[in-house]
């Protein structure tokens, strides 16, 4: 299998996303608003708790939010629903007529889109946090946070494709989208660091894949130099990609598109 095809799909997607300047601007603006609101809340929360909450001071918490929000907001929030619609309407059937993995091409394309959005969002987030609380607490951890964010986005996309493939069987992936989104928000650590969770929930969260999609890059950017966090990310990414390939393969075999 030639990886150059996926590279071309990725770069083509990057170019395409850069063309949609209006959409990019709206998304980044939304990210800025969320960041502003959450930073105000956490400023109050840390100040009433003696300057720290579960080991995070306001500075590290703001940098946490910069990465956790950017990693998730970069991905089309309704991706699962859209993939489901493409399965139901037969768009996937047309894509099956190309001599290439449908899910591989879709992942490369989605990754290109998401990384452009991430680059724009994180640039704003860094500027906002730097201006508000100064530089990140640990610059060496920043070097880990960026690849961790890419892995987080890739894992999230692979998981969304796995979830969306349910549409091959039930013709409606809206329920899967709703459930998935809430899991990333809550147990993925997008809104709260896992350290704030009750111990049982924190334990359950670390067993599931969602914490690798938001918490890991955020934990690193908040000044915690913990390179071993990248290992479960890579492992989950491989598992989720294999899972997406497997369920799409099964689904394609099951595909029964009648007529037009």
């Amino acid at each position: 299998m030639s990886w150059s095809v996926y590279l071309v799909a990725f770069t083509s997607s990057v170019r395409r996303t850069l063309q949609t300047r209006g959409q990019l601007a709206v998304r980044v603006l939304f990210y800025g608003v969320i960041l502003g609101v959450l930073s105000a809340l956490w400023k109050v929360a840390t100040s009433v708790n003696g300057g720290h909450v579960a080991g995070y001071d306001f500075r590290s918490m703001l940098w946490y939010l910069v990465a956790s929000e950017a990693s998730v907001i970069s991905i089309n929030p309704r991706l699962i629903e859209y993939i489901g619609l493409d399965i139901g309407s037969g768009v996937i059937a047309v894509e099956m007529l190309r001599p290439i993995s449908v899910v591989g091409l879709r992942l490369a394309t989605a990754l290109g889109e998401a990384l452009v959005r991430f680059a724009c969002a994180i640039a704003l987030g860094i500027a906002f946090a730097w201006f508000t609380v100064g530089p990140p607490p640990d610059l060496s951890a920043v070097a880990l946070a960026l690849p961790a964010a890419v892995l987080a986005i890739a894992a999230n996309l692979a998981a969304q494709h796995s979830f969306a493939a349910i549409a091959f069987w039930v013709n409606d992936s809206k329920a899967a989208w709703f459930l998935y989104q809430k899991l990333v928000f809550l147990v993925g650590g997008m809104l709260l660091p896992l350290e704030l969770f009750p111990s049982v929930l924190a334990h359950v969260s670390r067993v599931l894949p969602f914490w690798t999609m938001s918490y890991v890059p955020a934990r690193l950017l908040s000044g915690h130099f913990e390179p071993w966090l990248l290992l479960p990310q890579v492992a989950w990414l491989l598992v989720l990609m294999a899972g997406a390939a497997a369920v799409f393969g099964l689904g394609q075999r099951r595909l029964e598109v009648v007529g037009g």
């Binding site: 095809v5 063309q19 059937a93 001599p99 009648v258 007529g259 037009g260």
Partner: protein
């Protein structure tokens, strides 16, 4: 040499009806036909006849319930990826290009997918641009193109990897008359210059008349006609049209086996039942008993023929 061969191909689907009862719908039933390399075939039928299902089986998207098929030496549903390198598809209602990008960028991605070297891809794009008269179109974002312009780009996308068989499903739907004619002549030109086998489904009779040499009519999943387009009219509709203009209005035009379908002053349009009377007899009678200024004989419109076939087999 055969490009496509279908043998007793069947496909049934299970659907849930009222009270969640499972119902089996037979979309295609024991369909057998073959298509030679370089042929231009129209595969037609009313809505729900099984055309798209047949195409999906022949391109490997659907697994048949029974039967066998061979496209360019591949069993489509078992060797879909390998077959995909040798076939092209164009669906009138689905785009294979990316709306935000100029078609030329989309072609580059397709060239990578089909493992065409960049220099060769550029050469083919230039060649297609000439054939399709689309040079300025390829650099415009697809979303800014008219439907006719977009379809020319879609055709180029389908032909970039030089497929041996091109499956066209309603390719002219939504196009205006001029764009349709242009599109049809491009398909014919590609068939003649590159030897591409054309497998066309369409509800537009002009697509069939101007593109195909042979037609297969399918209804309720069964092949009900398979012959040359020219024979479709003659063998299935035993009528001829006569348009005649007299020097002066005739007193009364009563001819056995002839129906007057239109009358305006000295001009008449007649339908001759050729099973009751030969066209020669009718012409002789008209010329012997009336002062004819002008006369022409034509086959009935193909549209009428096809409508008759569909109705009779319903």
């Amino acid at each position: 040499m055969l490009a496509i061969e279908a043998r007793e191909l069947s496909k049934s689907f299970q659907t849930r009806g009222r009270k969640r009862r499972v119902r089996t719908v037979e979309a295609v039933h024991d369909v057998s036909f073959s298509v030679d390399e370089g042929e231009r075939l129209a595969y037609i039928g009313p809505n729900g006849a099984g055309k798209s299902t047949s195409i999906k089986m022949l391109t490997g998207i659907l697994h048949p319930t029974a039967g066998d098929a061979n496209v360019l030496g591949f069993v489509p549903w078992k060797q879909r990826m390998a077959l995909a390198r040798h076939i092209g598809t164009l669906f009138g209602q689905r785009s294979q290009l990316w709306a935000e990008l100029p078609a030329r960028d989309g072609f580059q991605l397709l060239a990578a997918i089909y493992r065409i070297e960049p220099a060769e891809a550029r050469r083919r794009i230039d060649e297609l641009s000439d054939v399709l008269d689309a040079d300025d179109l390829f650099d415009t974002p697809v979303r800014n193109l008219s439907l006719g312009q977009r379809m020319r780009c879609e055709l180029a996308a389908s032909m970039l990897h030089r497929p041996k068989v091109l499956f066209l499903d309603e390719p002219t739907i939504g196009l205006d008359l001029v764009a349709k004619q242009r599109f049809r002549s491009m398909i014919v030109r590609l068939n003649e210059t590159q030897g591409t086998t054309i497998f066309l489904t369409s509800h537009d009779v002009s697509d069939i008349e101007q593109v195909a040499r042979r037609v297969i009519v399918i209804n309720h999943g069964i092949v009900i006609f398979d012959d040359k387009v020219s024979r479709l009219r003659r063998s299935l509709l035993a009528t001829k049209l006569i348009e005649v203009r007299f020097d002066s209005p005739p007193a009364a035009l009563m001819l056995d086996g002839v129906q007057v379908v239109k009358e305006s002053g000295t001009g008449y349009k007649l339908v001759v039942d050729t099973e009751r009377r030969s066209i020669r007899e009718v012409l002789d009678e008209l010329l012997d008993h009336h002062r004819v200024a002008d006369i022409s004989v034509a086959d009935p419109p193909l549209e009428d023929v096809i409508a008759k076939i569909y109705k009779e087999r319903l």
